[in-house]
Symmetry: C2
Subunit: 147 residues, 2 copies
DNA sequence: TGTGAAACTGCATCGTC
DNA sequence: GACGATGCAGTTTCACA
């Protein structure tokens, strides 16, 4: 994990569909060398996958909320969570609440209906997202700013 | 936005580095046709980008937390947020808190140090992530399960 | 919009250092 | 670990439906 690996991670975090050739030009290294480094980063699990970022609003989902949840019935609640397409992220947390959910729904009404279904399992505290300042900031400091 | 577009979105959300040829085989359509649909989905903003998913723990970041934050000094707090590499996501929210942050740090100690810096701007309620059940569930119902 | 064919470009692989 | 060369695979483009 040297500076070049960090550059590769930074570039591919920005644009996962960049070609290896284009990367090899940016970092002034041969194409097979970059391919080999990429392969190793994937194998080590530093790169866990590649995802397209989809726009919720363009897909008719206009409401995003974070829901803190408290339940005594973890097993059933997690099964409910797996089966609920509204729940995009599901975390176990410390503190007075034991779960945190990121929920994406069409409207405020569909969020309300979802929360009512949740209340079979426990109680919640909901924080509706008004706007997103930024999301998914890179975990790696850029090798340098020139690329 | 027909069934085929949904299939494309579902596939590319799973693996953003899949080749167009491979996709065109999966959905039984010619490769130029898939290229054209992809181009349109990008242009319309349905696909907002492509990202590599990096493993925080493999990069030495072992602590993740969600922080609810209340400040009266929004402008300065947002500038602080932009400049803080610990803050991965930053949302404006409704309710008694006006921000929600996803924070990724090396250890509990570095999280603590970060929170102390935050307290120049207001007060917080912190929820430490113990484990992740799932993250980034697809926003599109699969066209069908056979792919 | 979708297709098939052809020219072009990028990638996997191998031998070399 | 990285490089250069090469054959194969994927992409772009275009005429046609």
């Amino acid at each position: 994990m040297d500076r070049i690996d960090h550059q590769i991670l930074s570039i591919i975090h920005e644009n996962a569909r960049i070609t290896v050739s284009e990367m090899s030009r940016k970092i002034a290294m041969s194409q097979p060398a970059v391919t080999e480094r990429l392969r190793r980063l994937e194998e080590q699990g530093v790169i866990a996958g590649y995802r397209a970022v989809l726009s919720p609003s363009k897909l008719g989902k206009h409401t995003t909320a974070f829901v803190l949840f408290k339940t005594n019935n973890c097993k059933e609640f997690e099964a409910f969570g797996e089966a609920s397409p509204e729940i995009v992220d599901l975390y176990r947390t410390s503190g007075e609440y034991n779960y945190l959910l990121k929920v994406v729904t069409a409207t405020g009404e569909t969020l309300e209906a979802f929360l009512e279904r949740c209340h079979a399992f426990g109680f919640s505290s909901t924080h509706v997202v008004l706007s997103t300042r930024f999301e998914d900031k890179s975990l790696v400091a850029d090798g340098d700013g020139s690329n």
